[in-house]
C-alpha cells in the first residue's frame, strides 16, 4: 500500500490558498483600474453622456489633464442600494432626495448636510409628471380627473420599486389633496387611479415600453422628459401615434445630485467630483440639461427654452406639507396607503 506523503495531504489546503490569492489578485487589479464613477438613475443616460464630454473638454483646458468618467444607470432605489453596499461612486444623481438621504443615513458615505453644499438645494434640474396618450386623444384626457374615470386604462410603474412612480403617485395625490382639501378624498383618488391601472412595471422605462411598443393602455403617467423622448423617437422613425397632455397642475419633481464625499476623498477624486457637479449649474451645463428635456433652474436658460416647457402650475412636496421621509412612511412603506389600496380591492 502506498503511503500518502505529508505534502500530498496538504495539497487541498495549498490549492485552496492558491485560489484565494489568485482571486484576490484579480479583484485588486480590477479595483486599481477603477476611475471616476457617476451613479445615476435611468432616464439621464443620454443627458450625462453629453455633459461628460463637455465637462472633460473644459477640465482639460483648465487643468491640462484628462480622465475618464464611467456612468452607471439603473432604477434610482437600486442604484442607491448599490452605493450603500459598496459600489464606489464618486458622485450620485438620483430620482429622489430620499434615496441620497438613505445612502447618507445607512452608510455615512455622504455628509448629512449634502443638500446645502451645492446651489438650489443640490438640485440642478427638475422635471414634472405629465400624460402620454394615443394620437388625437380618443379618451379625451385633459386632466387628472379624466384618468380616474371608469373605463380608462392607466400605465404607471410600481411606486414600491420605482422612484419615478413615487413622483407619479404623489402628483396625483397632491392634485386631489389641493383640489378637495382632504386627505381622505386624496386617498380615494389614488385608489381609483390604481383601480384603473392594468400593468405595474418595475421601472419608468418598462412602463414606457408597455405603453408605446406593446400598445397597452390609454394613458401613460410619466416624467416630462421621458414623454418628450418618446415623441422624439417617434419623429425620428417617422411615426406619429402619441400626444403629450399637460394636466392643469402637477408636481415639481426635483432630482438632486451629491458628491459621495468619503469615497471620492479616498480615491483622490474630491476636487474632480465637486467641479463636475458645479458644472451642472453653469450656463453650459444648464443648456445641455434643457436640450435633454429636463427643466433647467437657471432663469435665463429657462427663458430661452420656454417653448419646450409649457408653463403649468407646479406644487412641491413641501407644498403638500410632506418631506420624503414622511411621504415614504405614510404612502409607500409596508402597511402604508399604497398597500392599503390593494388590500381592499
Amino acid at each position: 500500500m502506498k503511503k500518502t506523503t505529508y505534502i500530498s495531504r496538504l495539497k487541498p489546503t495549498i490549492s485552496a490558498i492558491l485560489c484565494i490569492f489568485l482571486s484576490i489578485g484579480t479583484l485588486s487589479s480590477l479595483a486599481a483600474e477603477s476611475t471616476f464613477l457617476h451613479v445615476s438613475f435611468d432616464p439621464t443616460r443620454e443627458l450625462y453622456e453629453e455633459i461628460n464630454k463637455s465637462f472633460l473638454k473644459q477640465w482639460k483646458v483648465k487643468k491640462g489633464n484628462e480622465f475618464a468618467i464611467q456612468q452607471s444607470h439603473g432604477g434610482s432605489g437600486k442604484q442607491a442600494r448599490a452605493v450603500i453596499d459598496g459600489l464606489d461612486a464618486d458622485v450620485v444623481s438620483l430620482a429622489l432626495s430620499y434615496d441620497i438621504d438613505s445612502i447618507s443615513a445607512k452608510s455615512g458615505l455622504i455628509d448629512a448636510n449634502w443638500q446645502k453644499k451645492l446651489p438650489n438645494n443640490s438640485v440642478p434640474y427638475y422635471s414634472t409628471i405629465v400624460f402620454l396618450v394615443r394620437k388625437s386623444n380618443p379618451k379625451k384626457i385633459k386632466d387628472w380627473d379624466d384618468i380616474v374615470k371608469p373605463g380608462v386604462s392607466i400605465i404607471t410603474p410600481n411606486p414600491k420599486t420605482s422612484g419615478g412612480a413615487r413622483w407619479n403617485y404623489l402628483a396625483a395625490y397632491g392634485y386631489a389633496k389641493r383640489k378637495y382639501k382632504s386627505d381622505e378624498k386624496a386617498t380615494d383618488f389614488v385608489k381609483a387611479l390604481f383601480k384603473n391601472t392594468s400593468v405595474l412595471d418595475t421601472g419608468a422605462r418598462g412602463s414606457t415600453t408597455t405603453f408605446v411598443q406593446r400598445g397597452i393602455g390609454d394613458v401613460l403617467i410619466t416624467w416630462e422628459n421621458e414623454a418628450k423622448l418618446s415623441l422624439d423617437e417617434e419623429k425620428r422613425s417617422g411615426k406619429d401615434t402619441l400626444e403629450v397632455v399637460y394636466p392643469s397642475e402637477s408636481i415639481r419633481a426635483e432630482t438632486p445630485v451629491a458628491v459621495v464625499t468619503k469615497t471620492a476623498t479616498e480615491k483622490g477624486n474630491l476636487e474632480k467630483a465637486t467641479t463636475y457637479l458645479e458644472f451642472l449649474f453653469t450656463k453650459e451645463g444648464q443648456s445641455i440639461i434643457s436640450k435633454h428635456f429636463f427643466r433647467p433652474i437657471d432663469p435665463a436658460t429657462a427663458k430661452a427654452s420656454a417653448k419646450e416647457f409649457p408653463n403649468i402650475k407646479l406644487f412641491s412636496l413641501s407644498d403638500l406639507g410632506e418631506t420624503w421621509d414622511s411621504a415614504q412612511k405614510k404612502h409607500f412603506a409596508d402597511a402604508g396607503v399604497f398597500d392599503a389600496i390593494y388590500k381592499t380591492q
Partner: protein
C-alpha cells in the same frame, strides 16, 4: 491494493477535492450562510410575521401554483421533445437540438420582453386569443408560459440521455410478447424513465418559483393578483428591508431544497430497484 491499480494517482484527487471544496464554499455555502445570518436578524417570529401579510401569502400561493402547473406542462412538453429528438430523424434535427438550450443561455429579461411582445393584446398570438376574450400577458397564464419557456430544457436535457440508453430490444421484446403500445410504454419504458422525468420536472419547478427576469415583464405585477415572490424580495430590498427580503428568500430556498432532496431520495430508491 485496489488503490494502486487505479488509473489515477491519489495526489490528483487531493487537488481536485481542494478545488471542489473551495469553490463550493466560495460560490454556494458562504453566500447561503450570509443569507441565513441576515434573516436570523429578525428571528423566527419575525419571519413568521413576514408571512402573515396577505400580499406575501397571495404571492406565495401564486408563485407555487404557477410553478407546479408549468412544471407539469414541462413534464409533458419536455418528454415529448426528448422522445422525438432521440427516436426520430428529421431535417435540421441538430438545429432543433441546439435550440433547446436557448432558454438556458438567453438573458431571461430578453425572453420576458419577447414573450410579452408576442402574447400581449396587440401581439401576434395575444391578439388572436384576445378576439376570444382570453388575455394572456399580464395574467397568471402569461406567467405559466414564461415558466414553461425557461423550464423545459431542464426536462429535455435530463430525460434525453436516458431515452438514448434504452435498448430498443426492450420494446421489441415487449411487443413480441404481445404487449399493446400503451402497455409497453406504461409497464416497460416508464419505470426506466420516471426517475429522470421527476428530476427534470423538479428542477424546472425549483427554477420556476425563483424566476424573476422573464416573469416581471409578462406578469403585470398587480399586488394580490399577479405579483410573484421574487418581485416582493426586490420590493423589500428597495425599501432597505434586507431582513424581510432575506426571510422570503430563505423560505423559498428551504422549500426548493426540501423538494429537490425528496426527489433525489425517490430517484435513489428507484435506481436501486432497477439495478
Amino acid at each position: 491494493m485496489l488503490i494502486e491499480t487505479r488509473p489515477y494517482k491519489k495526489i490528483h484527487f487531493g487537488i481536485s477535492l481542494g478545488l471542489t471544496v473551495f469553490y463550493s464554499s466560495a460560490v454556494v455555502i458562504i453566500p447561503l450562510l450570509g443569507l441565513f445570518f441576515h434573516s436570523l436578524g429578525i428571528g423566527v417570529s419575525g419571519i413568521l410575521e413576514v408571512f402573515s401579510d396577505a400580499r406575501i401569502l397571495s404571492a406565495l400561493y401564486l408563485s407555487f401554483s404557477v410553478g407546479i402547473i408549468s412544471a407539469l406542462i414541462n413534464l409533458f412538453v419536455g418528454f415529448l421533445f426528448a422522445w422525438v429528438l432521440v427516436r426520430y430523424n428529421f431535417p435540421f434535427k441538430k438545429l432543433f437540438d441546439t435550440l433547446i438550450d436557448l432558454p438556458f443561455t438567453l438573458p431571461t429579461a430578453v425572453a420576458g420582453i419577447a414573450l410579452t411582445t408576442i402574447y400581449s393584446q396587440k401581439g401576434i398570438i395575444g391578439s388572436f386569443f384576445d378576439t376570444w376574450g382570453i388575455k394572456i400577458a399580464y395574467t397568471p397564464i402569461g406567467i405559466v408560459i414564461a415558466l414553461v419557456f425557461i423550464g423545459f430544457p431542464f426536462v429535455v436535457r435530463t430525460v434525453q440521455p436516458v431515452i438514448e440508453e434504452l435498448p430498443k430490444e426492450l420494446e421489441e421484446s415487449a411487443r413480441c410478447l404481445g404487449a399493446t403500445p400503451f402497455q409497453t410504454f406504461y409497464k416497460v419504458l416508464l419505470p426506466e424513465l420516471w426517475p429522470s422525468l421527476l428530476a427534470g420536472t423538479g428542477m424546472a419547478f425549483a427554477r420556476g418559483i425563483g424566476e424573476y427576469g422573464s416573469v416581471v415583464f409578462i406578469s403585470g405585477n398587480i399586488p394580490g393578483k399577479t405579483e410573484i415572490l421574487p418581485l416582493l424580495i426586490v420590493t423589500k430590498l428597495e425599501q432597505y428591508e434586507y431582513e424581510k427580503a432575506t426571510s422570503i428568500a430563505l423560505v423559498m430556498l428551504l422549500t426548493s431544497f426540501v423538494f429537490m432532496f425528496l426527489i433525489n431520495l425517490l430517484q435513489e430508491r428507484a435506481s436501486k430497484k432497477l439495478s
